[in-house]
């Protein structure tokens, strides 16, 4: 079988290979911790290789969604097994793939009890995250989106630290609440999108069917053609804002946007290092990704209507998250709040509706995955040695762990967006794009730029207290530097930080077409909607492969009630 023949199966493989690995682990005896780790690492490694292949095969000049596969699944309800990636999701898939082996390596010595179950959970999360990123069917997406929750809940609740139960419960309820509301919206959009019989949960089909109604509605907000709205447009006018908010709520909790963020610090603090890496590295991006893929394109008019709210919340998040960091005494909590701040930048970029900002936002998602993943991973190494998270328990660590300190510093600089590291490119583009967004108040980007100062203050403050100064606690004197396994993990992050900072264009090239389409779709709800051409936004929907010939119509309700 050659590469071309393999392509349609690539994404399926990427998604289900971790599951296969999990299945394999079931048959291993639980005492064989080493074997369990090795097999998990192997599965994650192969998954990374497959993700890299997908990334390389993806052609930035090609169709929007590539490597597509669409099979019949539940034809009666218009659900199909539809996978495909665009520039953004393929990049996030690569990021997820990269963090997979890292997560296994970082918890190599961290986890001692229930090793087998732990690694099965890791593999399940990996599969679910991959699935979420590549699903192009709303039901499929929802299933994967929810499936992420359960193993993560276990990861925090079983392998976490002291207050793990509360944190896990909070995490679970917060996110579940949002996604249940989203489920209602998914069903609603399914029912209004098309007449009975032709209904479909397929992303492209739904998008296309809402397209003209969205156009009419956008024109109507300009005062044109309000009298001749189609029934669908009228429905959207009445219910679109609610549906948008339902989607947005689910994703805003996941991001998380202020004021829905309080689950994050607790979850991070209590989670084991693997949980923190996954949570910060990928899972938060599911929120921004959701806005990018679903909430805004499906309801551009409502999105435009609520844009001031979300931009304001994003900016508040940036500043507020940074201020929160200044008040923390706990390293992990500080990093968690810095995520709130950084994700605020992503959200600002998404809601600026300009190409620069959207690219920057997409790039920032990758950056944040790398840098905060790295911060949690590296701090995990330290925690393994000292078992405390309090900043004041450290001091002078650089003296005994020079290599560790150097890696942590590099990652810190990435996190505070020093040019030359990856963080700068994303932040710069987001700020620039937000400035360029004509209809936004210029104060927003100006306020957002203060992150440059605040970010440096809190990160360097933490670095200072942990690494520099004299060693005033004897426990810190005997710490050993990173060993080979840890060193390799740290180096992988450092290489990525510098690579993505010095040569960002190859990554941006992959993202660019997705950006253009996203911006065009978002523009559909703005006063500029007339300039957007249908060809730029319409989604090409492939036919269902191997669908059985249309079934005979099932007998319609036999007892017809008389009129």
């Amino acid at each position: 079988m050659n590469a071309a023949q393999l392509q349609p199966y690539l994404l399926t493989l990427v998604v289900f290979l971790p599951l296969l690995g999990a299945g394999l682990l079931l048959f291993l005896p639980r005492e064989e911790a080493g074997q369990v780790r090795a097999w998990t690492l192997l599965a994650m490694g192969v998954d990374l290789a497959l993700a890299a292949v997908a990334y390389l095969v993806f052609d930035p000049k090609g169709a929007e969604f590539q490597l597509e596969v669409r099979r019949a699944w539940s034809a009666e309800f218009g659900i199909s097994y539809h996978l495909g990636v665009d520039g953004l999701s393929v990049s996030l898939v690569l990021l997820t793939g990269f963090l997979g082996p890292v997560v296994v390596l970082s918890s190599w010595k961290f986890i001692h009890d229930r090793v087998k179950e732990f690694h099965i959970s890791l593999l399940l999360i990996q599969a679910a995250m991959m699935g979420t990123l590549v699903s192009l069917d709303l039901v499929l997406f929802y299933v994967f989106f929810e499936a992420m929750l359960i193993p993560m809940y276990l990861l925090i609740g079983v392998w976490g630290s002291e207050r793990r139960r509360e944190a896990a419960m909070k995490f679970f309820l917060y996110t579940l609440f949002g996604s249940l509301v989203m489920l209602v919206a998914i069903l609603a959009v399914y029912f209004i999108g098309q007449p009975a019989g032709a209904r479909s949960f397929d992303y492209g089909t739904i998008y296309n069917s809402l397209l003209s109604a969205n156009r009419q509605l956008a024109a109507c907000t300009q005062g044109v053609g309000c009298a001749t709205l189609s029934p669908l447009a009228l429905t959207l006018q009445a219910w679109g804002p609610l549906m948008f908010l339902a989607f947005a709520l689910a994703f805003a909790i996941k991001v998380p946007m202020v004021p829905l963020h309080t689950w994050l610090p607790e979850a991070h603090v209590e989670a084991p290092v693997a949980g923190s890496i996954i949570l910060a590295g990928v899972m938060l991006k599911m929120g921004t990704y959701g806005f990018w893929r679903f909430a805004i394109p499906l309801f551009p008019v409502a999105a435009y209507q609520f844009r001031p709210l979300f931009v304001a919340l994003a900016v508040v998040g940036i500043v507020y998250g940074a201020l929160m960091c200044l008040a923390q005494q706990d390293v992990k909590k500080l990093i968690a709040y810095s995520s709130v701040s950084h994700l605020g930048i992503c959200m600002l970029g998404i809601f600026a509706f300009t190409a620069e900002a959207a690219s920057g936002s997409a790039y920032q998602m990758l950056n944040h995955g790398v840098s905060s993943g790295a911060l949690f991973c590296l701090f995990g190494f330290l925690y393994e040695r000292r078992h405390t998270r309090r900043i004041s328990d450290y001091g002078g660590v650089a003296r005994v762990m020079p290599f560790f300190a150097a890696s942590f510093l590099v990652v810190t600089f990435s996190s505070i967006a020093v040019p030359g590291t990856n963080g700068f490119v994303g932040e710069f583009l987001v700020l620039l794009g937000t400035f360029k967004a004509s209809s936004l108040w210029l104060g927003y980007p100006v306020l957002a730029t203060t992150t440059v100062i605040l970010g440096a203050s809190y990160m360097l403050w933490m670095v200072q207290r942990v690494f520099f100064g004299p060693i005033d606690r004897p426990e810190n004197g005997g710490l050993r530097d990173l060993d080979l396994r840890e060193g390799l993990t740290a180096s992988a992050f450092m290489v990525l930080v510098l690579w993505m900072g010095l040569a960002p264009q190859p990554f941006l090239d992959r993202i660019a077409p997705a950006t253009d389409r996203f911006v065009a779709r978002a523009q559909l709800g703005t006063p500029d909607s007339a300039k957007v051409k249908d060809a730029d936004v319409r989604v090409t929907v492939p036919p269902i492969e191997g669908a059985p010939p249309a079934l005979p119509q099932p007998p319609v309700a036999a007892v017809a009630l008389p009129r």
């Binding site: 909070k170 309820l173 004021p259 963020h261 309080t262 507020y320 201020l323 929160m324 960091c325 200044l326 008040a327 923390q328 300009t354 190409a355 620069e356 690219s359 920057g360 650089a398 003296r399 150097a406 600089f413 020093v418 040019p419 030359g420 700068f424 490119v425 710069f428 583009l429 700020l431 620039l432 794009g433 400035f435 360029k436 967004a437 004509s438 936004l440 210029l442 980007p445 100006v446 730029t449 203060t450 440059v452 100062i453 440096a456 203050s457 360097l460 403050w461 200072q464 520099f468 100064g469 004299p470 060693i471 960002p504 264009q505 941006l508 660019a512 950006t515 009630l561 008389p562 009129r563």
Partner: protein, 739 residues
């Protein structure tokens, strides 16, 4: 004597252009080697790698400088406006990042300005590397030190060579980063690391403003290029003015210096080539629509000034530099005197063609510079720490450079930058030598009498002191007094008062400079050895330390050639300074545009000599006063308490006018308190306890009420189901009946 070899490029410019990246890559590679393998390589090899990489970079820079400076084909006078067009070695390694309509290239160039900077950075840099090999002889972290130092060289060279603002910003933050690492080099003392952090944050405040300025500039340029009625943007952006270009690819993006210069050409009112005065016009499209180009540019440059003030330690962001003296002395010499802190001056000079569009911004620059010059000099009066004295004098001298830029006297600022790099580098290295020979003693009151024990160091320090004081046969005299002379005769339209004012403040500053520098010299080097000295007898340092001192001291004298007025004649017969002529290709455009934009009018050239006379008098007066006070008055009063007024003034000055405390009380503490307050009240209190916890509480209460429905009796449940069924049946019938 055959001098044709001087007027021909020594190396093929084309090849040089294609290999400009090596100038940066060599030190970067050195940093990598030293940082990763340094401990394994050992001291000798680390020294070798670090110095060799910078030396190689220096040699390449010499070739580049020579190619730009000497080749007669470099300067071509186009017919259009008679101003020599400027040329550069220029290389472009494609797009760095690009999104939407914005792009930033990995482009480097060497024009006359960056060539000058290149020589300063690599030349002084190499000397200081050499010096450090001896200075850091006994430090266990030598490999880390050289890694940082090499990394700094790479960043600084990126800053200097970049052909666009974004890449410049990489170097800009890169040098800040290295400065952070090097100030906190001896991090086991927490105070050093805090000083590093303070420097980084203060720089970041400036960088934030710089970023905002860049954004606004992008908006302005893009709006101009895309506005209906402008020349086709493709032509506008693609305009290239380099002869030797390596791989010019796509359009260079709005922050490219050539594009910005091109943009500037369109701004003045009476422009010959388009007759479109844009400064007073509203920006037609984009988020800035409705504001005039002129106002926008003023805002841009005020922000950029703040950025430059951060890096160059000007008011109000100077507070980090004195603390930065916590780093090793070679670092103070290289980063905090000769190179990094001049980046702000370089940036403003680089933006000269656009800067002259805004007299308001220029006036602000001049005033900030003048005030800083005086203010820092006043603080330096009472400092006893030799390095702190030098630090404040650096701030003060940088103020002069800003003053020069502000009055449109760009070449003077650059000349002062160069001479300052030499004499201040020399001063710091001498101070380092003093510390080396006196067991790290920096308090000038605890030194004394070094003249006999450290003759070479004393001589070099003395020469450099004379240079900074402004005594006639030394370079500092001409560079500083050229600036003051320029200030007196500059006319900023609408801000005519600025020139004379800053001249007055600057002259006062010069007097103070002479005083505190003489004081430092007299106390530390002359007289008897202090009784509080750590070691009874100082010893002279080895040649590796002394040689750089001597070279720099010699340069402080030799550079007089570039500041001596009237060495050359302009075509119209007016006298011209060598430096002015050399930088004409760069600043000629700015001068012309200033006249066209009617923002800065030069007065008829007057003889500089009377002014020079005053300056010389001031220098002698300051020095004499110091001699009188510290050699005659104070020794005579030894043992008697100082009058209370003087004691109070001195205390106020020693505490640096309490500015650190002020910032702490007004900015740092309120923000910290605010964040803690928000965390406790909003995050933990309101959101977590009231909203989230409240939801959970309400749910739990409702649940505990509803649980009494669970009787545990199967039939009761079945009865409920029956009632439910009844309701369903009833509803169906009701619905059917209703139709």
């Amino acid at each position: 004597m055959d001098t044709t070899w001087l007027t021909k490029a020594w190396a093929n410019p084309q090849a040089l252009s294609a290999n400009l990246w090596l100038i940066i890559a060599l030190p970067a590679f050195g940093a990598l080697v030293c940082g990763v393998f340094g401990r394994a390589l050992g001291r000798t090899y680390v020294n070798l790698v670090a110095c060799a990489s910078v030396l190689a970079s220096f040699c390449l820079s010499v070739f580049a400088f020579q190619a730009v400076a000497a080749d007669p084909s470099v300067i071509v006078t186009p017919a259009a406006n008679g101003v020599p067009m400027r040329f550069a070695l220029s290389g472009d390694w494609g797009v760095w990042f690009q999104a939407g309509s914005f792009s930033a290239h990995l482009g480097l160039w060497v024009d006359h300005l960056s060539a000058t900077m290149l020589m300063v950075v690599t030349g002084v840099g190499f000397l200081i590397h050499l010096y450090s090999t001896a200075y850091m002889e006994h430090d266990a972290g030598y490999w880390r030190f050289f890694a940082y130092l090499n990394l700094f060289m790479a960043s600084m060279l990126t800053l200097v060579l970049a052909d666009n603002l974004v890449l410049l910003f990489v170097g800009w933050e890169g040098v800040g980063l290295c400065s952070y690492l090097l100030i906190g080099f001896w991090y086991t003392d927490a105070a050093n690391a805090w000083a590093g952090r303070k420097a980084f944050i203060a720089n970041r405040v400036g960088d934030c403003a710089f970023l905002l300025a860049m954004m606004l500039l992008v908006l302005t340029v893009t709006a101009f290029a895309k506005a209906p009625g402008t020349e086709p943007p493709a032509v506008f952006f693609a305009q290239r003015r380099a002869v030797w270009t390596h791989a010019a690819t796509s359009e260079p993006g709005p922050l490219n210096f050539k594009v910005l210069e091109e943009f500037a050409q369109y701004m003045p009112a009476n422009l010959a080539m388009g007759s479109r005065g844009m400064l007073g016009t509203d920006i037609p499209i984009g988020p800035l629509a409705g504001h005039t180009y002129g106002h926008t540019l003023t805002l841009v440059f005020l922000l950029m000034l703040l950025g430059a003030a951060g890096k160059s330690a000007q008011l109000p962001l100077y507070v980090w530099l004195p603390d930065a003296m916590a780093g090793p002395t070679p670092v103070s010499a290289l980063i905090h005197a000769a190179t990094m802190v001049t980046a702000g001056v370089y940036l403003l000079c680089r933006m000269a063609p656009l800067l002259v569009m805004s007299p308001a911004a220029m006036a602000t620059v001049a005033v900030v510079g003048a005030l800083t010059a005086l203010y820092a000099a006043l603080i330096a009066f009472a400092q006893d720490d030799l390095k702190k004295v030098l630090a404040y004098s650096t701030i003060s001298q940088l103020g002069y450079m800003f003053l020069g830029v502000g009055v449109g006297f760009f070449w003077g600022a650059i000349l002062h930058l160069v001479t300052h790099a030499c004499f201040k580098g020399c001063l710091f290295l001498s101070a380092g030598s003093v510390m080396h020979g006196n067991d790290n003693e920096v308090n000038i009151k605890k030194l004394g009498g070094l003249r006999k024990e450290m003759p070479w160091t004393t001589a070099c320090f003395g020469i450099a002191t004379l240079a900074i004081t402004g005594i006639i046969p030394l370079s500092g005299f001409f560079s500083k007094d050229d600036i003051l002379h320029g200030a007196l005769h500059a006319r900023l339209v609408g801000y005519e008062w600025v020139g004379p004012t800053v001249f007055a403040i600057g002259s006062l500053g010069a007097l103070c400079t002479a005083f505190y520098m003489s004081r430092a010299y007299l106390l530390a080097f002359t007289g008897e050895r202090s009784k509080d000295a750590k070691v009874p007898h100082a010893h002279e340092s080895g040649w590796v330390i002394v040689a750089p001192l001597v070279i720099l001291a010699a340069l402080s004298i030799a550079l007089i050639s570039h500041g001596f007025p009237g060495l050359l004649k302009m075509p119209n017969g007016e006298p011209e300074t060598l430096m002015e002529a050399f930088l004409k290709p760069v600043f000629g455009v700015a001068d012309r545009l200033a006249i066209e934009a009617h923002s800065l009018l030069p007065e008829a050239e007057r003889s500089p000599w009377p002014g020079f006379g005053i300056a010389l008098l001031l220098a002698w007066a300051g020095g004499g006063a110091a001699w009188y006070l510290y050699k005659r008055v104070f020794p005579a009063r030894a043992g008697k308490p100082a009058p209370e007024v003087f004691a109070a003034v001195r205390a106020f000055t020693v505490h640096k006018f309490y500015v650190d405390e002020l910032y702490d009380a007004v900015l740092v503490r309120p923000i910290k308190l605010l964040s803690i307050g928000l965390f406790r009240v909003v995050d933990e209190g309101l959101i977590d306890t009231v909203l989230v916890g409240g939801t959970a509480w309400v749910t739990a209460r409702i649940g505990s009420l509803l649980r009494y429905l669970q009787t545990g009796d199967v039939q009761a449940y079945a009865a409920m189901m029956a009632v439910g069924l009844l309701a369903g049946v009833g509803y169906a019938i009701f619905e059917a009946l209703a139709k």
